[in-house]
């Protein structure tokens, strides 16, 4: 989920480097994501990640590499009159494109997403608690984030997909919230649903973040009603 905030806590002139691991486990699938991220000057962020998508009971993961860059273009998370605005690109390399090809994806090797994100924290906005929201608009062709290729027989072009999150900070290190992510539905072979989740995020210090979520991913590759637990751990070393 792209937000307009940069990874880590790097302020002006500072650098933050970190690594993250995410696992999502639903009825018929499991997704693992491993990645590294580097941000500088509270201005730019680059990251590299590898996704491994497992179809339970079937040997061989579908792997995808994602290289991302993001730049903060205007505004501020907390101060001033404008929300923080960032724009970014994600280059996706599908390493195992056989299934994407078989299900009729327009491209089964590589794709690119572009997005613009708006994020704002409102101090003391709900009964004294801080309110955080994010709105992103993503231009994408990806089928199931790219794991089933890019574009399809029903739509081969870019579409603009909104993604929205809202969270309340219960104290300095704990947030609860929800997220909704609209997705394309490009393939006639499989229908694709929007993603949504409710999450709790824990920031015991500036080095560690643990997020747990219950995610409803809808229909994936013909398997209906996929939902389950999402867990993500990030660690930052300056």
């Amino acid at each position: 989920m792209p937000w307009a905030v940069m990874s880590g806590y790097a302020d002006e002139g500072e650098t933050a480097a970190g690594a993250f691991y995410t696992a999502v486990d639903v009825q018929d699938f499991r997704l693992r994501v491993t990645g590294v991220t580097l941000s500088y000057d509270n201005r730019v962020e680059v990251s590299a990640a590898q996704q491994a998508f497992e179809i339970k009971g079937v040997a061989g993961d579908i792997r995808q590499e994602i290289f991302s860059a993001k730049v903060r273009v205007a505004g501020d998370l907390i101060y001033g009159s404008m929300p923080q605005i960032a724009t970014g690109v994600q280059f996706k390399n599908l390493l195992d494109g056989d299934i994407a090809e078989a299900v009729g994806a327009d491209a089964a090797d590589a794709g690119m997403d572009g997005y613009v994100s708006f994020t704002r924290l409102h101090l003391g906005a709900v009964g004294g608690y801080n309110l955080l929201w994010n709105l992103s608009l993503r231009a994408t062709k990806a089928n199931q984030m790219g794991l089933l290729g890019y574009g399809g027989d029903e739509n081969a072009g870019y579409q603009l997909m909104p993604e929205a999150s809202v969270a309340v900070l219960l104290d300095n290190g704990l947030a609860v919230g929800g997220e909704y992510r609209q997705k394309p539905d490009n393939l006639s072979a499989f229908s694709e649903d929007d993603f949504m989740d409710i999450f709790i995020a824990w920031f015991p210090n500036k080095q560690v973040n643990l997020t747990l979520a219950w995610a409803d991913l809808g229909s994936i590759a013909g398997s209906e009603k996929q939902s389950g637990l999402y867990a993500s751990l990030s660690a930052f070393f300056y």
Binding site: D11, G13, L123, G124, G127, G128, Y129, N172
Partner: protein, 137 residues
């Protein structure tokens, strides 16, 4: 129907107001604010990146002006008699990182004074607009 709706809305906003109380009271009045400011000055004096700004500062004056400012901003019966934020902080070249660090020190000062998180947020919200008059000058 419209009258009922309006009554309902005013009841809600009344109960929200009644629930919050004045920030000045929630901070513990003059005494509570004095404790917060004391803790804040202690936090500053132990912070290696922020203390150098204050090495030549007249601390009794700073304490008095901060107390007045927090009291006035939170709706208490005080008047701020110090200099403008712009005048005080010009020439210091305070970075946004140093500003954020100082806000963290204020948060720990309030933690130590037993000020609840929601009350802390409400005070910081009132200080946030002053940032533009304080940093990069």
């Amino acid at each position: 129907m419209l009258r009922k709706a309006l009554l309902f809305i005013s009841l809600i906003s009344w109960s929200v107001h009644a629930h919050c109380g004045s920030l000045y009271e929630d901070l513990g009045g003059r005494e509570g604010i004095a404790t917060v400011v004391d803790n804040f000055i202690t936090e500053i004096s132990f912070d290696p990146s922020i203390y150098p700004f204050f090495s030549k500062t007249n601390v009794p004056r700073l304490r008095e002006k901060l107390e007045e400012q927090f009291c006035m901003l939170s709706g208490g019966p005080c008047e701020y008699t110090g200099d403008t934020m712009e005048k005080v902080h010009t020439g210091m070249h305070i970075s946004s990182a140093e500003f954020n660090r100082t806000v963290e020190l204020l948060q720990s000062a309030m933690d130590d004074a037993g000020v609840p998180f929601t009350t802390q947020n409400r005070l910081i919200r009132l200080l946030a607009p002053l940032r533009e008059e304080i940093i990069r000058r």
